[in-house]
Amino acid sequence: MSDQPAFAVTTGMRRRAAGQAAAAQPERRLGGVQVRRTAGRVVEIILLTAVALLVVSPIYWTIVTSLRTPAQSFSNPPAWIPTHPLWSNYSAVFSNVPFWDFLLNSFLITGCIVIGQMITCCLSGYAFARLRFRGREPIFWAVLATMMVPIQATIIPVFLLVKEFGLFNSRTGLILPVVATAFGTFLMRQYFLQMPKELGEAATVDGANQWQVFYRIYARLAGPPLATLGVLAFAAYWNEFFRPLIFLSTPTKFTLPLGLVTLQGYLGTGSVSVVLAGVVLSLIPTLIVFLFAQRRLVEGLTFGSVKG
C-alpha cells in the first residue's frame, strides 16, 4: 500500500521521540496512576458483580426456596444451596389448583393473541407502507393516536362490550380486544417502508397481482419484524394480570399469573415453597423464549428509542 513509507516515517519519528514518549504517556511511567486505575477497575467490577448478584438473588431465592419443605420454607437463613431438594412441591402445585388448566389457558390465549397480532399488523402495516389510497395518512395517524390511550382508561367500556358480546368469562373475550394493535401496525409499517420498492414493481411487471406481491414477496421478507412483534406480544400477554382478573371468573379459565395469585391466597403463608414452585413453573416458558429470541426482544424494546 502507498502509505508504507509514511508508516516508516512515523516509526522513525516514534523512535526519535522515544525520549519524550514517557512524558507523552504519563500512565506508563507514573506507576501510581496505573495502580490507581487498575484498583478503580477492580472496585468497579466488584461493585457491578455485587449489584448483578443482588438483582438476580430474588429469582435464585425463589428457585431454592421452592425446593424446601413447606414447613421450612419461611425460616431464615434461606437454604442458598439445596442439599435435600424436595421436588414434591412441584406436584403439590398441580394437586392444589388446576395448574394444567392455567398453563393451557395461558398458552392458548397468548398464542392466539400473538398469531392474531402478527397477521393483522402485517396486513395493515403493509397497506400503510406500500399501498396508495385516499385517506391513508389521516387513517394511519388516527390509528397511531390510539397508542396514547392507556388500557385502563378504556377498561370499563371494553368490559361492557365484552359482556354484551357474551364473552365474559371466556378466553375469546381476552383475545379479541387485543388482536389488532396500533403499536404492531406502526412497527410493521416502519419495516415495510425500509424494504425496496423495486421488488414489488418488478413482480408487477412480471404479472403478479397485488395479493401475490404482498404475500409472495414482502410478507416473506417480514420474518424478523414479525418475530420481534411476536416475542414482544408474548412477553406482554403471558404476564398480563389486569384484564384476566376482570374478564375471568371461573378458576379453570384462569391464566398463570391470575392462577398463581389464587394459589397464594389459597395456601396462605402456610407453604411458601409450593407457591414459589408455581412461580418457577410459570417462568420456564418465558425463559425459553428469552433464550431463543433475546435479540428480537431487545430489538422490540428499543424500537422507538432511536427516533426519540
Partner: protein, 311 residues
Amino acid sequence: MALALPRRHARTAGAKTGTDLHRRRETRFAWLLILPTILGVGLFTAVPIVGSFVLSLFNYSIISPTKWVGLANYSALLHDSNAQHAFVVTIILTVGIAIAQVVVGLALAVAVQRRTGWARSLYRAAFFVPLLVSGASVSIVMSYIFDSQFGVLNYYLGLIGLPQVSWLDSTWGAIFTVMIVVTWQQLGFTFIVFSAALGAVPRELTEAARVDGAGGWRVFRKITLPMISPSILFTVTVGVINQLQLFDQPYVLTHGGPGNATQTVVLDIYEQAFQNLRFGYASAISVILFIVVLVATFLQFRISRRWVFYS
C-alpha cells in the same frame, strides 16, 4: 428515480382508464388489509375512550337503572379524598420509579458497556431477566422477601446490624417497597435501551475529548449524556405512562395498603367499578387518568426541547 419518472408518465398518458382501474383496485385491496386493524382498534380503543367519557356522565351500574347526572361524578371527585389520595400516591410512585429506573439503568449500562466478551453477556442477562417475570409473580415473591417479620431482607439487614424496616406495614415502607420492586423488575428495560444508545455513541467523539484532556466524568456529562438524551426521554416517557397505570404490584403485594397508602388510581378504578359497581364514577376517574397521562406526556416533550439533543 430520474429514469423511473418519465416511464410512469408515459404509462399514465397511454392508458388513463387502466390506471383508474388499477388505483381503484389498489384502494379496495388496501382497505381489505387494514380492515381488521381498523375494526379492532376502533371497536376496542377508539369507541371505548369515547365510551368512558359518556359513561362518566351517567350513574351506571349493572344492578340499578341508568341515570344521567351530567358532571356530578366529576364534582363528586372533588370531595373524594380517597380518589385524590390515589392520584397523589400514583404520582409519587411514578416520579420515584422514573428517577430510580433512569439513574440505576444508566449507571449499570455504562458499567456493563466497559466490560467485554462473555462477562458483558452475563451481566446483561442478569439485569434483563427480571423483566421476564410477570408483575403478579414478582409481587408474590417480594411479599415473602419483604415480609417484616419473617422476610429474608430484614433477616440480612439484622445480620449486618441495620435496623429492621417495616416494609409492608408502614405507609412509607410500603411506598418504598413498591418503588423498589417495580424498579427492580423493569430495570431491564431502561438498561437495554441505554445499552443500545451507548453503543451508538461514536467513539471518535469521546476519544477526541479525552485527547483534549477532558476527564472521564466530564466526557460523560458533556458528550455521552447529550448523545443519549433522546433515549432518556424515551425511557422516561414510556416509564411514566406505564407507572401512572400501576396496578399489578400494589394489588398483589400490598393490596393498596396499609390503609390506602399504596392505593393507586387504577386500583381505585378497579374497586369502584368491579367491586362497588359504580361504573359511571369509575369512568370519571379513568377519564381524569387519561388526561393526566396526556398532559404528562405533552409536558415531557415540551420540557425535553431544552435538554434533549438531536444530532
